[in-house]
């Protein structure tokens, strides 16, 4: 019998990162044979056979130790293939899926995703409903949120505010106003936090602010009195990858508690924002021979511990050696959204591509449309789709308007009310 790790890797639809890691199936027929074998694997085997050793890896320990056996009971008797059929059945409705989430492990959902075609990933995810709250309510049916990503190549405050106002004028920003800072020092990060918090307070915007610095930088900023709404961190699916990010579960526990104690949320206390992405473990040489999609799903176990407001898979950022083209990026984005939703996470997606990937704006539109149909909680809003700091293309404010028109989706209710409250709001740049 092949180890689960090998079976999962061979069953994974083709992507360049698994080939680079040397774990992919060598032929299409070998891939399908692995999928057929995986379909016969009982879900219970995932509880006894781990893909990264329990003693070596705190993410594995988290997954095993926090597994909720009673929640798992309704599907305990199924194989992976049977689980796919069950997920597609009417029994698997929003209530059932929500109750099941704590009983599922990342490896189970990764496995079933590998047996699914695109329509399955979209349909099942669309049945999941994950609601999270801070200053507004995200993830409700019929809603589609956006992060304003007002990055600036030199962190210039007026440049950041200019992009923020542009986004608000186009109805974006209910998920978060979140800046990727160029400078990682506490002073610069605090400056942006204070700036955006004053701006938010001045216009009474029912949304949350985040500066996507390292978690320890945000802790020092909080120590110094900076207004941290959401605690951000990039996370991964192995202890070794998280170590390369400079984090551990213990560190995240402490930072989470510190953020909760600020009690800045008004309608809820989901105070964390995580970003992930397939391929990061291989790039940090921390993959343990596991395929990149399974490792990505394991990152969601880390996220789940902290009851996040937002989880964002940054799907097309990492480069063509991990996801080569539009087809691979599209599939990965849908898998990540599906796996995160099944595990009970408020999933969003940075639908994006770099210039050296074999992808373009048509591919971006395709994934955006599919994700919106799948009930994705939020996407990025970048001015004109062109991030002048991170040098990549993501979804624009206009792209979000396209989705809202196409599918009749609205922003978060509190934010929608704010948008319409004062149509002739006079914007002034705060000094």
């Amino acid at each position: 019998m092949q180890p689960l790790k090998t079976l999962l890797a061979h069953a994974s639809p083709l992507r360049s990162g698994d080939v680079l890691a040397g774990v992919a199936a060598e032929t299409e027929q070998q891939r399908v044979r692995a999928q057929m074998a995986l379909a016969e694997v009982p879900l219970t085997r995932f509880l006894s056979e781990v893909v990264v050793p329990y003693d070596d890896d705190e993410v594995t320990r988290l997954i095993i130790d926090s597994h909720d056996a009673p929640a798992f009971a309704p599907v305990r008797h199924l194989t992976v293939g049977g689980f796919r059929d069950w997920l597609l059945s009417p029994q698997a409705n929003a209530t059932a899926l929500s109750a099941l989430a704590p009983g599922l492990t990342p490896e189970m959902v990764a496995a079933v995703s590998k047996l699914m075609r695109v329509q399955d990933l979209v349909l099942v995810a669309s049945k999941c409903r994950v609601v999270s709250k801070f200053r507004n309510t995200l993830g409700l049916a019929g809603r589609f949120a956006t992060r304003i990503q007002p990055n600036h190549p030199t962190d210039d405050p007026r440049g950041i505010l200019a992009s923020t106002i542009d986004g608000l004028l186009l109805g974006a920003g209910d998920a978060v106003i979140g800046v990727n800072p160029v400078a990682e020092d506490v002073g610069s990060v605090s400056t942006i936090l204070h700036l955006l918090d004053r701006f938010r307070a001045q216009y009474e915007i029912p949304t949350q602010i985040c500066v996507l610095a390292h978690v320890t930088t945000q802790q020092r900023a909080m120590d110094a009195g900076a207004p941290v709404d959401l605690l951000f961190q990039s996370i991964g699916g192995t202890e070794a990858l998280n170590r390369s990010f400079g984090i551990s579960l213990k560190l995240l526990d402490e930072a989470w508690q510190q953020t909760l104690e600020l009690k800045r949320g008004t309608v809820g206390d989901n105070v964390t924002y995580f970003e992930t992405g397939q391929g990061s473990a291989l790039s940090a040489d921390a993959h343990h021979g596991v395929d990149q999609q399974t490792l990505e799903a394991r990152a969601y176990a880390v996220a789940r511990r902290y009851r996040p407001l937002l989880v964002n898979t940054v799907v097309g950022f990492i480069g063509p050696e991990y996801l080569y083209n539009g087809k691979q990026i599209t599939r990965a984005g849908l898998e990540d959204h599906f796996c995160g939703k099944l595990l009970g996470l408020p999933m969003g997606c940075d639908v994006c591509f770099t210039n050296h990937a074999e992808a373009d704006f048509d591919d971006l539109d395709t994934l955006l449309t599919l994700l919106a149909a799948a009930g994705c909680n939020f996407v990025m809003g970048v001015p004109g789709g062109d991030d002048t700091m991170l040098s990549y293309q993501s979804t624009s404010f206009h792209d979000a308007l396209y989705v809202r028109q196409l599918l009749g989706l609205k922003p978060a209710p509190e934010f929608e009310e704010w948008l319409t409250r004062e149509p002739e709001r006079e914007w002034r740049m705060i000094s």
Binding site: S16, V19, L20, P150, N151, P153, T154, D156, R158, G159, I160, L161, A162, S163, D166, L169, L170, N180, V182, A183, L212, S234, S244, F245, G246, E275, G277, S280, S283, A284, V314, F317, I318, G319, P320, E321, Y324, T354, N355, H356, F361, V382, P383, G384, G385, D386, D387, T388, M389, L390, S391, Y392, Q393, S396, H398, L401, Y402, Q405, E424, W427
Partner: protein
């Protein structure tokens, strides 16, 4: 009111703000402008690699990548010299390497100028310099193997950076003390954004020479070696900080 405001906001950032709408979508002009910028970046990445642009003495070598597609898919092969690569005999104080990286366009536009300025300054500093080793389909780390074989004290790699929409011809410089295969990015220093409208060649050369002298004196490069602030014009300070990655260990993405 919105138009006045947007006109004012547009002066505050180079981001694509204040774009008009056709319904909710981009207007034809803005959409085609975005497409044109992407097309320029794509063409820069796929421009012919390894074109002779540097005045002699120059040695031409290849990485283990057979073509552009393999370069994009197999970063490991782009960091290794082809088996038949021939290099001049060392030792040298400084090995000069030019690699296309992700923008052959950047190399064809800026590498000859920067090499010329560096050769002059290094000669004035009485440092011995290798012939320029120009690598087709090479990544930053290929300079480690080259520097090791040339018995160089330090390798300077000039490489085309990943094209963005605002600039497709940006050149980067990476310095590695005591080069040998297996060095990590934490052991290098980088000067980024060398292009028209970015860091100009005279200043890029001066900063490179300052770093070379500091590296040779302190016998290291990397996170422990900082550029001295007085070497920079204030206006250029932001160029010190290259685009940050969201996923920290992926800094080699730029090359």
């Amino acid at each position: 009111m919105a138009n006045d405001l947007l006109t004012r906001l547009r002066t505050l950032t180079d981001s694509r703000i204040g774009l008009e709408r056709a319904g909710g979508s981009l207007t034809t002009a803005d959409w085609l402008a975005l497409r044109a910028a992407h097309a320029a970046a794509r063409d820069a990445i796929h421009a012919a690699s390894g074109q002779p642009v540097i005045p002699p003495p120059v040695g031409y070598v290849r990485s283990r990548c057979q073509n552009r597609q393999q370069y994009l898919l197999r970063p490991d092969l782009g960091r290794r010299l082809a088996d038949d690569a021939e290099l001049p005999a060392g030792p040298f104080d400084v090995a000069l390497v030019v690699a296309d990286g992700l923008s052959p366009l950047a190399v064809s536009r800026h590498a000859a100028g920067l090499v010329g300025a560096l050769r002059n300054s290094l000669a004035e500093a009485h440092l011995t310099v290798s012939p320029v080793i120009q690598v087709a389909q090479g990544r930053v780390a290929i300079g480690d193997e080259i520097g090791e074989r040339l018995q160089a004290r330090l390798t300077v790699v000039l490489i085309g950076e990943r094209p963005g929409l605002s600039a497709a011809d940006s050149l980067g410089v990476y310095l590695t003390y005591a080069p040998k295969a297996g060095r990590t990015d934490a052991e290098r220093n980088c000067i980024s954004n060398i292009r028209d409208g970015g860091l100009d060649i005279p200043l890029a050369a001066r900063r490179t020479i300052n770093l070379i002298e500091a590296a040779l004196a302190r016998q290291l490069t990397g996170v422990q070696l900082k550029e001295s602030a007085h070497a920079l014009k204030p206006a250029m300070a932001p160029a010190l900080a290259g685009p940050l990655d969201r996923l920290p260990p992926r800094r080699d993405r730029l090359s």
